[in-house]
Symmetry: C2
Subunit: 147 residues, 2 copies
């Protein structure tokens, strides 16, 4: 909880209950979370609007980042080390497990270069890998919602 305090402070944000609670959820969740995961989480009682605004604020302040999906949801994730280092969040690989359905940031796996057709100039690249994650190969209880 002290960690949460410092993250907020460092970003120049007020330290409020809502924000600390939502940060807590991200720390508790190994994978990425959607708005709905947070809003519907049993232990919290925060207004929908506040959740929206908190997520937006966190994105704007580099505390969490968005992960592309093909199902009308936005996933958000805290990066393991990166956020304080301020690296580019689009440069690491995201992994979606087809068994537990959790989305992981593979912070250590950098997105490889790719050769584009003439005339296409890349600025940022995102990579999403689907497969089975380490937890689902040698399974043990997973505390958090399916993502």
């Amino acid at each position: 909880m002290l960690q949460q305090f410092e993250i907020l402070k460092k970003a120049g944000l007020s330290v409020t209950e809502s924000r600390k609670t939502i940060l807590d959820l991200f720390f508790a969740a190994q994978g990425a979370l959607a708005h709905a995961d947070i809003e519907k989480h049993s232990s919290i009682n925060i207004d929908r609007v506040t959740v929206y605004r908190t997520l937006q604020t966190f994105v704007e302040n580099g505390i969490i980042h968005q992960i592309p999906t093909t199902d009308n949801t936005i996933l958000y994730a805290l990066c393991k080390d990166s956020c304080e280092a301020g690296h580019h969040h689009d440069e690491h690989v995201h992994f979606i497990c087809v068994v537990c359905n959790k989305t992981n940031c593979l912070d250590d796996v950098m997105v490889p270069m790719v050769k584009l057709p003439n005339g296409f100039l890349p600025i940022q690249t995102a990579m999403i890998v689907k497969g089975t994650c380490i937890d689902c190969r040698s399974p043990h209880p997973q505390p958090f919602p399916q993502r």
Copy 2:
């Protein structure tokens, strides 16, 4: 229009006006389309629900595929050659132009392999590149909506 007919037939779907019209839009659009693009397109007059159901049917039948985004929309695209060949739609690169905002399938650009941490087994990989597209380097009129 004959092409549209055959695509639907081959998929074992009834050939209806709505479906042909929506397929037309995909052929006319160089880039990917969102539900809203189709629904709001001036020249068509198809019920929202039909658009939803048509897109779903097309995805299920491999006529179009979904493209991951971070902005709560699903983009759909027809693949240039692939759909009839039945290749994996997750294996080519998608390119989003930051100028015209169109999304292109780079059918010829295959997604490179990437080394994952121990325990992670890949099944499919998607790659999304943002940058400037060929049209926006040597611009000429673009007929279709911004995507």
